[in-house]
Amino acid sequence: MFVIGSFVRIKAPFDEFYPYVLQIDSISETGAFQIHGVDFAEEHLEEVTNGDHNP
Protein backbone atom coordinates (compact mmCIF):
# COMPACT_ATOMS: atom_id res chain seq x y z
CA MET A 1 0.00 0.00 0.00
CA PHE A 2 1.28 3.41 -0.94
CA VAL A 3 1.08 6.54 1.17
CA ILE A 4 1.27 10.22 0.41
CA GLY A 5 4.86 10.94 -0.52
CA SER A 6 5.64 7.45 -1.86
CA PHE A 7 7.84 7.40 -4.94
CA VAL A 8 6.33 5.35 -7.72
CA ARG A 9 6.66 4.40 -11.35
CA ILE A 10 3.51 4.15 -13.41
CA LYS A 11 2.97 0.85 -15.18
CA ALA A 12 2.03 0.23 -18.82
CA PRO A 13 0.08 1.38 -20.72
CA PHE A 14 0.14 4.67 -18.82
CA ASP A 15 3.94 4.78 -18.56
CA GLU A 16 4.04 6.12 -22.11
CA PHE A 17 2.59 9.37 -20.84
CA TYR A 18 4.23 9.35 -17.39
CA PRO A 19 7.71 7.88 -17.95
CA TYR A 20 9.26 9.27 -14.78
CA VAL A 21 9.53 8.48 -11.10
CA LEU A 22 6.78 10.47 -9.44
CA GLN A 23 5.56 11.12 -5.95
CA ILE A 24 2.02 10.54 -4.69
CA ASP A 25 0.48 13.91 -3.87
CA SER A 26 -2.74 12.84 -2.17
CA ILE A 27 -5.40 10.17 -1.90
CA SER A 28 -8.69 10.97 -3.58
CA GLU A 29 -12.21 10.49 -2.23
CA THR A 30 -12.46 7.33 -4.34
CA GLY A 31 -9.34 5.89 -2.74
CA ALA A 32 -7.19 6.45 -5.82
CA PHE A 33 -3.65 7.76 -5.54
CA GLN A 34 -3.34 11.22 -7.06
CA ILE A 35 -0.27 12.35 -8.91
CA HIS A 36 -0.35 15.81 -10.49
CA GLY A 37 -4.15 15.74 -10.33
CA VAL A 38 -4.50 12.36 -12.05
CA ASP A 39 -5.97 9.33 -10.28
CA PHE A 40 -4.21 5.98 -10.35
CA ALA A 41 -5.45 2.71 -8.91
CA GLU A 42 -2.90 0.76 -6.88
CA GLU A 43 -2.46 -1.88 -9.59
CA HIS A 44 -1.11 0.72 -11.99
CA LEU A 45 1.66 1.85 -9.67
CA GLU A 46 4.99 0.28 -8.76
CA GLU A 47 6.90 1.46 -5.73
CA VAL A 48 10.41 2.81 -6.25
CA THR A 49 12.72 2.03 -3.39
CA ASN A 50 15.49 4.25 -2.14
CA GLY A 51 18.35 4.49 -4.61
CA ASP A 52 16.21 3.43 -7.55
CA HIS A 53 14.79 6.80 -8.49
CA ASN A 54 16.54 7.07 -11.82
CA PRO A 55 15.03 4.79 -14.44
Partner: protein, 271 residues
Protein backbone atom coordinates in the same frame (compact mmCIF):
# COMPACT_ATOMS: atom_id res chain seq x y z
CA UNK B 1 -22.21 15.53 -61.61
CA UNK B 2 -19.91 16.93 -58.97
CA UNK B 3 -20.17 20.52 -57.81
CA UNK B 4 -17.22 22.40 -59.32
CA UNK B 5 -18.49 25.97 -59.53
CA UNK B 6 -20.15 28.50 -57.26
CA UNK B 7 -23.16 28.40 -59.57
CA UNK B 8 -23.31 24.66 -59.04
CA UNK B 9 -23.22 25.11 -55.27
CA UNK B 10 -26.01 27.68 -55.42
CA UNK B 11 -28.14 25.55 -57.71
CA UNK B 12 -27.88 22.59 -55.38
CA UNK B 13 -28.96 24.32 -52.18
CA UNK B 14 -31.27 22.26 -49.98
CA UNK B 15 -33.83 23.62 -47.53
CA UNK B 16 -32.27 25.09 -44.35
CA UNK B 17 -32.53 22.99 -41.22
CA UNK B 18 -33.00 24.88 -37.95
CA UNK B 19 -30.91 24.11 -34.87
CA UNK B 20 -31.72 25.02 -31.27
CA UNK B 21 -30.23 23.04 -28.39
CA UNK B 22 -30.83 24.03 -24.81
CA UNK B 23 -28.73 24.39 -21.71
CA UNK B 24 -25.46 22.50 -22.08
CA UNK B 25 -23.08 22.68 -19.13
CA UNK B 26 -19.54 21.56 -18.44
CA UNK B 27 -17.86 20.23 -15.30
CA UNK B 28 -14.76 22.26 -16.02
CA UNK B 29 -13.28 23.83 -19.09
CA UNK B 30 -10.15 22.04 -20.15
CA UNK B 31 -8.06 20.84 -23.02
CA UNK B 32 -9.47 17.96 -25.08
CA UNK B 33 -12.81 18.49 -23.34
CA UNK B 34 -16.02 19.59 -25.01
CA UNK B 35 -19.78 19.26 -24.71
CA UNK B 36 -22.23 17.76 -27.18
CA UNK B 37 -25.93 18.62 -27.22
CA UNK B 38 -26.57 15.12 -28.62
CA UNK B 39 -28.70 14.27 -25.57
CA UNK B 40 -30.06 17.81 -25.03
CA UNK B 41 -33.59 18.92 -25.74
CA UNK B 42 -34.36 21.33 -28.55
CA UNK B 43 -34.54 21.00 -32.30
CA UNK B 44 -33.57 18.40 -33.26
CA UNK B 45 -34.74 16.69 -30.10
CA UNK B 46 -32.66 14.57 -27.78
CA UNK B 47 -31.03 11.33 -28.90
CA UNK B 48 -31.41 8.15 -26.91
CA UNK B 49 -28.26 6.35 -25.85
CA UNK B 50 -27.30 3.30 -27.83
CA UNK B 51 -27.34 -0.09 -26.11
CA UNK B 52 -25.36 -1.91 -28.82
CA UNK B 53 -22.57 -3.11 -26.50
CA UNK B 54 -18.81 -2.68 -26.27
CA UNK B 55 -18.07 -3.81 -29.84
CA UNK B 56 -20.12 -0.95 -31.20
CA UNK B 57 -21.90 -0.18 -34.43
CA UNK B 58 -21.53 1.91 -37.55
CA UNK B 59 -23.78 4.92 -37.08
CA UNK B 60 -26.40 5.66 -39.73
CA UNK B 61 -29.66 7.61 -39.68
CA UNK B 62 -31.52 4.28 -39.56
CA UNK B 63 -30.49 3.71 -35.93
CA UNK B 64 -33.11 4.58 -33.34
CA UNK B 65 -30.37 6.13 -31.22
CA UNK B 66 -29.71 8.94 -33.72
CA UNK B 67 -32.88 10.98 -33.24
CA UNK B 68 -30.85 14.02 -32.25
CA UNK B 69 -29.01 14.27 -35.57
CA UNK B 70 -29.37 17.33 -37.79
CA UNK B 71 -31.79 16.23 -40.46
CA UNK B 72 -30.52 15.78 -44.00
CA UNK B 73 -31.22 13.53 -46.98
CA UNK B 74 -28.82 11.79 -49.31
CA UNK B 75 -28.53 13.31 -52.80
CA UNK B 76 -30.47 11.54 -55.54
CA UNK B 77 -27.32 11.81 -57.62
CA UNK B 78 -23.94 13.46 -57.27
CA UNK B 79 -22.39 14.56 -53.99
CA UNK B 80 -23.41 16.54 -50.92
CA UNK B 81 -21.38 19.34 -49.36
CA UNK B 82 -21.80 21.78 -46.52
CA UNK B 83 -23.20 25.03 -47.93
CA UNK B 84 -23.70 27.04 -44.73
CA UNK B 85 -23.47 26.53 -40.99
CA UNK B 86 -24.70 29.46 -38.92
CA UNK B 87 -24.59 29.49 -35.13
CA UNK B 88 -25.35 31.79 -32.25
CA UNK B 89 -24.84 30.85 -28.62
CA UNK B 90 -25.53 32.39 -25.25
CA UNK B 91 -21.84 32.14 -24.31
CA UNK B 92 -18.65 32.26 -26.30
CA UNK B 93 -16.91 29.20 -27.59
CA UNK B 94 -16.06 27.17 -30.64
CA UNK B 95 -18.34 24.75 -32.43
CA UNK B 96 -17.51 21.65 -34.43
CA UNK B 97 -19.91 20.05 -36.87
CA UNK B 98 -19.07 16.34 -36.90
CA UNK B 99 -20.18 13.19 -38.62
CA UNK B 100 -20.78 10.56 -35.93
CA UNK B 101 -19.50 7.42 -37.60
CA UNK B 102 -19.31 4.78 -34.83
CA UNK B 103 -20.56 4.37 -31.27
CA UNK B 104 -20.69 1.79 -28.53
CA UNK B 105 -22.08 1.23 -25.05
CA UNK B 106 -21.35 -1.00 -22.10
CA UNK B 107 -17.91 0.25 -21.14
CA UNK B 108 -17.41 -0.10 -17.39
CA UNK B 109 -16.86 3.25 -15.69
CA UNK B 110 -15.27 1.62 -12.64
CA UNK B 111 -12.94 -0.91 -14.28
CA UNK B 112 -9.21 -0.27 -14.10
CA UNK B 113 -8.30 -3.20 -16.32
CA UNK B 114 -8.27 -3.35 -20.11
CA UNK B 115 -11.67 -3.62 -21.77
CA UNK B 116 -11.25 -5.36 -25.12
CA UNK B 117 -13.17 -4.14 -28.16
CA UNK B 118 -13.75 -6.25 -31.28
CA UNK B 119 -15.17 -3.39 -33.26
CA UNK B 120 -17.80 -3.26 -35.92
CA UNK B 121 -16.22 -1.74 -39.03
CA UNK B 122 -16.62 1.99 -39.41
CA UNK B 123 -18.73 3.11 -42.38
CA UNK B 124 -17.07 4.43 -45.56
CA UNK B 125 -17.19 8.00 -44.28
CA UNK B 126 -13.61 8.87 -43.42
CA UNK B 127 -11.95 11.87 -45.06
CA UNK B 128 -11.60 9.91 -48.29
CA UNK B 129 -14.97 8.19 -48.21
CA UNK B 130 -13.42 4.88 -47.16
CA UNK B 131 -13.34 2.70 -44.04
CA UNK B 132 -9.60 3.27 -43.52
CA UNK B 133 -10.07 5.89 -40.82
CA UNK B 134 -8.43 8.99 -42.29
CA UNK B 135 -9.17 11.96 -40.00
CA UNK B 136 -11.41 9.85 -37.76
CA UNK B 137 -11.11 10.91 -34.12
CA UNK B 138 -12.37 9.31 -30.90
CA UNK B 139 -14.04 10.59 -27.76
CA UNK B 140 -15.75 9.40 -24.63
CA UNK B 141 -19.28 10.78 -24.53
CA UNK B 142 -21.39 10.74 -21.36
CA UNK B 143 -25.08 9.87 -21.70
CA UNK B 144 -25.57 9.93 -17.92
CA UNK B 145 -23.54 12.10 -15.58
CA UNK B 146 -20.32 10.60 -14.29
CA UNK B 147 -18.95 10.48 -10.77
CA UNK B 148 -15.76 11.25 -8.92
CA UNK B 149 -12.39 10.33 -10.34
CA UNK B 150 -9.83 11.97 -12.59
CA UNK B 151 -8.06 9.06 -14.25
CA UNK B 152 -5.93 8.96 -17.33
CA UNK B 153 -7.92 7.15 -20.00
CA UNK B 154 -6.14 5.30 -22.78
CA UNK B 155 -7.51 3.96 -26.05
CA UNK B 156 -5.59 1.41 -28.09
CA UNK B 157 -6.48 1.43 -31.77
CA UNK B 158 -5.52 0.54 -35.30
CA UNK B 159 -4.49 3.68 -37.15
CA UNK B 160 -5.44 5.06 -40.54
CA UNK B 161 -2.69 3.03 -42.23
CA UNK B 162 -3.59 -0.23 -40.53
CA UNK B 163 -0.86 -0.21 -37.88
CA UNK B 164 -2.08 -1.90 -34.72
CA UNK B 165 -1.37 -1.06 -31.10
CA UNK B 166 -1.37 2.73 -31.32
CA UNK B 167 -2.51 4.57 -28.20
CA UNK B 168 -4.25 7.84 -27.44
CA UNK B 169 -5.20 9.39 -24.14
CA UNK B 170 -6.94 12.13 -22.21
CA UNK B 171 -7.19 13.17 -18.56
CA UNK B 172 -10.72 12.58 -17.31
CA UNK B 173 -12.66 15.33 -15.58
CA UNK B 174 -14.43 14.76 -12.25
CA UNK B 175 -18.24 14.57 -12.31
CA UNK B 176 -18.81 15.06 -16.05
CA UNK B 177 -22.38 16.19 -16.82
CA UNK B 178 -24.42 14.47 -19.51
CA UNK B 179 -23.05 15.47 -22.89
CA UNK B 180 -19.44 15.80 -21.78
CA UNK B 181 -17.25 14.88 -24.74
CA UNK B 182 -13.63 13.95 -23.90
CA UNK B 183 -11.40 13.68 -26.94
CA UNK B 184 -8.45 11.32 -27.28
CA UNK B 185 -5.07 12.35 -28.60
CA UNK B 186 -3.55 10.19 -31.33
CA UNK B 187 -0.16 8.53 -31.30
CA UNK B 188 2.80 10.30 -32.87
CA UNK B 189 2.46 10.40 -36.64
CA UNK B 190 -1.17 9.26 -36.68
CA UNK B 191 -3.97 11.19 -38.35
CA UNK B 192 -6.91 8.87 -37.86
CA UNK B 193 -8.46 5.81 -36.25
CA UNK B 194 -9.58 2.78 -38.23
CA UNK B 195 -10.59 0.57 -35.33
CA UNK B 196 -10.57 0.88 -31.53
CA UNK B 197 -9.33 -2.33 -29.92
CA UNK B 198 -8.92 -1.72 -26.18
CA UNK B 199 -9.88 0.78 -23.50
CA UNK B 200 -8.40 1.24 -20.03
CA UNK B 201 -8.69 3.75 -17.16
CA UNK B 202 -5.99 4.35 -14.57
CA UNK B 203 -8.66 4.65 -11.85
CA UNK B 204 -12.40 4.51 -11.38
CA UNK B 205 -14.87 7.15 -12.55
CA UNK B 206 -17.30 5.81 -9.94
CA UNK B 207 -20.62 6.10 -11.75
CA UNK B 208 -22.40 7.24 -14.89
CA UNK B 209 -22.78 5.96 -18.44
CA UNK B 210 -20.24 6.57 -21.16
CA UNK B 211 -19.82 5.68 -24.80
CA UNK B 212 -16.86 5.53 -27.13
CA UNK B 213 -17.68 7.60 -30.22
CA UNK B 214 -15.68 7.87 -33.45
CA UNK B 215 -16.24 10.92 -35.59
CA UNK B 216 -14.98 13.12 -38.40
CA UNK B 217 -14.87 16.90 -38.11
CA UNK B 218 -16.69 18.58 -41.00
CA UNK B 219 -16.50 22.24 -40.02
CA UNK B 220 -15.43 24.58 -37.26
CA UNK B 221 -17.12 27.82 -36.31
CA UNK B 222 -16.01 30.38 -33.73
CA UNK B 223 -18.54 32.23 -31.54
CA UNK B 224 -16.54 35.16 -30.22
CA UNK B 225 -19.46 37.12 -28.75
CA UNK B 226 -22.47 35.82 -26.84
CA UNK B 227 -25.78 35.96 -28.73
CA UNK B 228 -24.14 37.24 -31.88
CA UNK B 229 -24.07 34.79 -34.74
CA UNK B 230 -21.30 33.61 -36.98
CA UNK B 231 -21.31 31.41 -40.04
CA UNK B 232 -19.20 29.49 -42.50
CA UNK B 233 -20.29 28.68 -46.03
CA UNK B 234 -19.23 26.38 -48.82
CA UNK B 235 -16.14 28.45 -49.53
CA UNK B 236 -15.03 29.41 -46.03
CA UNK B 237 -15.63 25.88 -44.74
CA UNK B 238 -13.59 24.40 -47.57
CA UNK B 239 -16.53 22.63 -49.27
CA UNK B 240 -16.39 19.57 -47.02
CA UNK B 241 -18.03 16.47 -48.46
CA UNK B 242 -21.03 15.08 -46.59
CA UNK B 243 -21.09 11.38 -47.40
CA UNK B 244 -24.31 9.43 -47.75
CA UNK B 245 -25.89 8.45 -44.42
CA UNK B 246 -23.79 10.93 -42.44
CA UNK B 247 -25.09 11.55 -38.94
CA UNK B 248 -24.51 15.19 -38.12
CA UNK B 249 -23.86 16.28 -34.55
CA UNK B 250 -22.59 19.41 -32.82
CA UNK B 251 -19.66 19.56 -30.41
CA UNK B 252 -19.16 22.74 -28.39
CA UNK B 253 -15.88 23.90 -26.85
CA UNK B 254 -16.99 26.42 -24.22
CA UNK B 255 -15.04 29.16 -22.55
CA UNK B 256 -16.99 28.78 -19.29
CA UNK B 257 -19.12 26.20 -17.50
CA UNK B 258 -22.20 28.42 -17.83
CA UNK B 259 -25.30 26.70 -19.23
CA UNK B 260 -25.36 27.49 -22.93
CA UNK B 261 -28.12 27.40 -25.52
CA UNK B 262 -27.03 27.04 -29.12
CA UNK B 263 -29.12 28.12 -32.09
CA UNK B 264 -28.35 28.04 -35.75
CA UNK B 265 -29.03 26.76 -39.20
CA UNK B 266 -27.58 24.01 -41.42
CA UNK B 267 -27.73 24.15 -45.21
CA UNK B 268 -26.37 21.55 -47.59
CA UNK B 269 -25.79 21.71 -51.31
CA UNK B 270 -26.09 18.69 -53.55
CA UNK B 271 -25.15 17.97 -57.11
Amino acid sequence: MAITTLDGAIAGMQPPQPIMKVGGTMAAVGGQRAYTPWYATGNPGASTATAIGVNGEAVTPALASTGGRIIRTNPVSGNAHLARLAVNATTTGTLWLIDRVWQNSGLSVTSTTAQAITPATIPARDNNGTTNGAAIMAAIEWSAAGGAGTPTVTLTYTDQDGNTGATGTFAGVASPPIGTFEIFTLAAGDTGIRAPTSFIQSATRTSGTMHLVLFRVLAQLEVTSANIGNAVDALTAGLPRIYNDSVLQLVWFPTATTATTIGGQYIETQG
